[in-house]
C-alpha cells in the first residue's frame, strides 16, 4: 500500500520538552524514563486526577501512582498546520490529541499522535503509547494507532 499523502510529522522538539517537574509530577516523569505510563490516583477513594496535593472528590492528600496499560482512545484532536513559533516550522503538520487513558476513568493525557494519516484520524480510535526519549533525563509519551490484529 502506498504511503498516505497527508502523513503527519512525528512532532518532537527538544526545546519544548524541557521539564519543570515539581514534587507532584516527578513520579510521572520518572516513570516515563523507564517507559512506564502511570496515573495519579487518590490513595483513599481511588479517583484519578491530575497530579496535585489534594483529591477533589474526598479531600485526601494520599496519592497512589497506578500502572496503566499504555492503551487509550482518542477523545479529541487537532491537526496543527500553522507554526506559532519558529521552532515548530519543520514539524508541520502535527497532531495534538487528548487521550482517554484505559484503566483510568476520567484521566486524559494531551499527547501527539504519530504514525497516522490525517484521513484515518477519528475520535474514538484506539491508540497505544510510544516512548520518545528526548535525552537521558526526558522521555515524552506519544501515541500511535493500536493495531487490533496484534
Amino acid at each position: 500500500m502506498s504511503e498516505p499523502i497527508d502523513h503527519v510529522a512525528p512532532f518532537s522538539v527538544a526545546d519544548l520538552a524541557e521539564l519543570h517537574v515539581d514534587s507532584w509530577t516527578a513520579p510521572f516523569w520518572r516513570a516515563t524514563r523507564e517507559e512506564r505510563l502511570v496515573g495519579c490516583a487518590c490513595g483513599r477513594c481511588g479517583t484519578f486526577r491530575m497530579p496535585g496535593p489534594i483529591c477533589p472528590v474526598c479531600g485526601s492528600t494520599d496519592v497512589i501512582w497506578r500502572p496503566l496499560s499504555g492503551q487509550g482512545t482518542v477523545f479529541s484532536y487537532t491537526v496543527v498546520r500553522h507554526a506559532v513559533i519558529p521552532q515548530v516550522r519543520g514539524q508541520l503538520p502535527y497532531v495534538i490529541a487528548v487521550i482517554d487513558l484505559a484503566g483510568a476513568p476520567g484521566l486524559r493525557l494531551i499527547a501527539n499522535l504519530w504514525n497516522v494519516a490525517v484521513d484515518d484520524l477519528r475520535i474514538g480510535m484506539p491508540v497505544e503509547v510510544h516512548w520518545d526519549h528526548i535525552s537521558t533525563d526526558v522521555c515524552i509519551p506519544r501515541f500511535v494507532p493500536l493495531d487490533p490484529e496484534e
Binding site: 517537574v21 487537532t78 476520567g106 486524559r108
Partner: protein, 394 residues
C-alpha cells in the same frame, strides 16, 4: 442581591492592528479610554473612586495618582484573562451596590508587541496570556500545544463529533459577524467574507481556519459605573446592571490546560452554571434578550455559548447561526452587531460591553430596534469566566 447600579459612561481609543501602537504605552491607551468614558458620563476624573478590573488589573497606585483621584475607595480585579471582562463590570456594580465606592471604572488596554497566539509557548506570547513554563505546562508544551487556538480546536472537533456540527456552521458565525462589521467604521475588517473565501483560507489548527480566529488588535475601552440615583442626573439614559455572574463550575477549572473536564462539559463553553445564575438572579431568560454580545475569540465558542445560555438546545448552535438566528436582520436574537472580536477588534471583551451600552442607549451603528435587554459574556476560558445582563427602562 438588589442591583442598583448603572453604566453611565463608555469610552475607547481607536482600534489598531497589532503593532500599530508601539510608540505609546499601555497606560497611555488606558488613560485615553478612561478620559473618554468619564467625559461621556459628564463626570470629572477626580470623581472616580474605584477600579474594578480583570486580566490581572493595572498599577492602580499609578492610575489613582495620574488621574488625580481624591480618594481611591475600591480596587479589585477578577483573575484570569478575557473571561473576566463582563464580570468586571458586574464587580464594579457590586462595589457601587455595597456603598464601597460610587464611581467605578472598568477598563482594559491591549498591546501585542509579540503574538498573543503563541501564548503558551516558553518563547512566544505576550500580554495577559503569556505563560511561563510550569509543572502543569509539562503536560501540554512538549506536544506542541502552544496556543489557545489549538486548545479550542479540540473542543470544536469534539462538538462536531458529538453533534454533527460542521465547518459551514463555524463559517456562518464568521460571515454573519463580518456582515455586521461592514457598516461599522471602527471595525478593522470590513471586506465581505463569503463561504468560498472562508473555505479557501489557510487552516491553522484543524478544524479551525484563519477566519475562525479573532483579530490581533490593539486599543483600549473603559466604562464608568455608578449608583442608579446618580445616574439619573447624568447625560445619558442609564444602562442598568440587571445581573452578573463570574466563576464557573470547579470541574471546568483548568479545562483548556489539561482537558480533563467531564465529557458533557467538554462540548460546552463552560458557561452553563454562569448562565443559570444569571437567569436566576434576573428572573429573565434567553427569550428576553434583545441583543447578545458573545465573546468570540473563536467561532465555535459562539455556538456553544448560544447553547449554554439557552438561545437554542445543546448541539443546535450551528444550525441556529446558519439559519440566520444571529443576524441583525435574522429570525433570532442578533449576535455581535458591532462585528465582535472576529471583525471589529479584539480588546479582550470590552468592545462587547461598549456595544451593549450603545445598543441600549439606542445609538448603535447597527441598532437593534427597541433593544431593552443586552447579554454580554466574557471569554470561555479557564476559570473564572463571567457574564453581564444590562437593561434600560423605556
Amino acid at each position: 442581591m438588589t442591583r442598583s447600579s448603572s453604566i453611565v459612561g463608555v469610552g475607547a481609543t481607536p482600534y489598531y492592528q497589532r503593532g500599530a501602537t508601539v510608540a505609546r504605552t499601555t497606560m497611555d491607551l488606558l488613560i485615553e479610554a478612561i478620559r473618554n468614558a468619564v467625559d461621556d458620563a459628564g463626570l470629572q476624573l477626580a470623581d472616580i473612586d474605584g477600579f474594578a478590573l480583570y486580566s490581572g488589573g493595572y498599577d492602580t497606585a499609578l492610575l489613582a495618582q495620574t488621574l488625580g483621584l481624591r480618594e481611591l475607595r475600591f480596587s479589585a480585579a477578577i483573575t484570569g484573562t478575557g473571561g473576566g471582562s463582563a464580570g468586571a463590570v458586574g464587580l464594579a456594580g457590586m462595589a457601587v451596590d455595597s456603598g464601597a465606592a460610587e464611581v467605578v471604572v472598568t477598563a482594559i488596554a491591549v498591546q501585542q508587541r509579540r503574538r498573543m497566539g503563541a501564548a503558551f509557548s516558553p518563547s512566544g506570547g505576550s500580554g495577559p496570556y503569556a505563560g511561563t513554563p510550569t509543572a502543569e505546562s509539562d503536560f501540554s508544551v512538549p506536544s506542541g500545544l502552544l496556543s489557545p487556538g489549538q486548545s479550542f480546536a479540540m473542543l470544536a472537533q469534539r462538538h462536531m463529533h458529538v453533534y454533527g456540527t460542521t465547518r459551514e456552521h463555524f463559517a456562518s458565525v464568521a460571515i454573519t459577524t463580518r456582515r455586521h462589521a461592514q457598516t461599522r467604521q471602527s471595525a478593522l475588517m470590513r471586506d465581505e467574507l463569503t463561504l468560498e473565501s472562508y473555505l479557501a483560507s489557510r487552516m491553522i489548527a484543524d478544524p479551525l481556519c484563519l477566519y475562525d480566529f479573532c483579530l490581533e488588535s490593539e486599543g483600549a475601552v473603559a466604562v464608568v459605573t455608578t449608583t442608579d440615583r446618580r445616574a439619573r442626573e447624568l447625560a445619558h439614559r442609564p444602562v442598568r446592571i440587571l445581573a452578573s455572574a463570574h466563576g464557573g463550575t470547579g470541574s471546568w477549572g483548568k479545562a483548556l490546560t489539561w482537558m480533563n473536564m467531564p465529557a458533557d462539559s467538554f462540548v460546552t463553553s463552560g458557561h452553563q452554571s454562569l448562565a443559570q445564575r444569571l437567569w436566576r438572579e434576573s428572573g429573565l431568560s434567553a427569550s428576553d434578550v434583545d441583543v447578545a454580545l458573545l465573546y468570540d475569540h473563536f467561532t465555535p465558542m459562539v455556538l456553544m455559548q448560544l447553547e449554554d445560555y439557552g438561545f437554542c438546545g445543546p448541539g443546535e448552535g450551528g444550525p441556529y447561526m446558519a439559519d440566520g438566528g444571529g443576524a441583525i436582520d435574522g429570525n433570532g436574537t442578533p449576535v455581535n452587531p458591532h462585528g465582535g472580536n472576529l471583525s471589529e477588534a479584539y480588546i479582550l471583551g470590552m468592545t462587547h460591553v461598549r456595544e451593549a451600552v450603545e445598543q441600549l442607549r439606542g445609538n448603535a451603528v447597527n441598532q437593534v430596534d427597541g433593544a431593552e435587554v443586552a447579554l454580554v459574556t466574557g471569554g470561555p476560558a479557564p476559570l473564572p469566566s463571567s457574564n453581564l445582563l444590562l437593561g434600560v427602562e423605556r
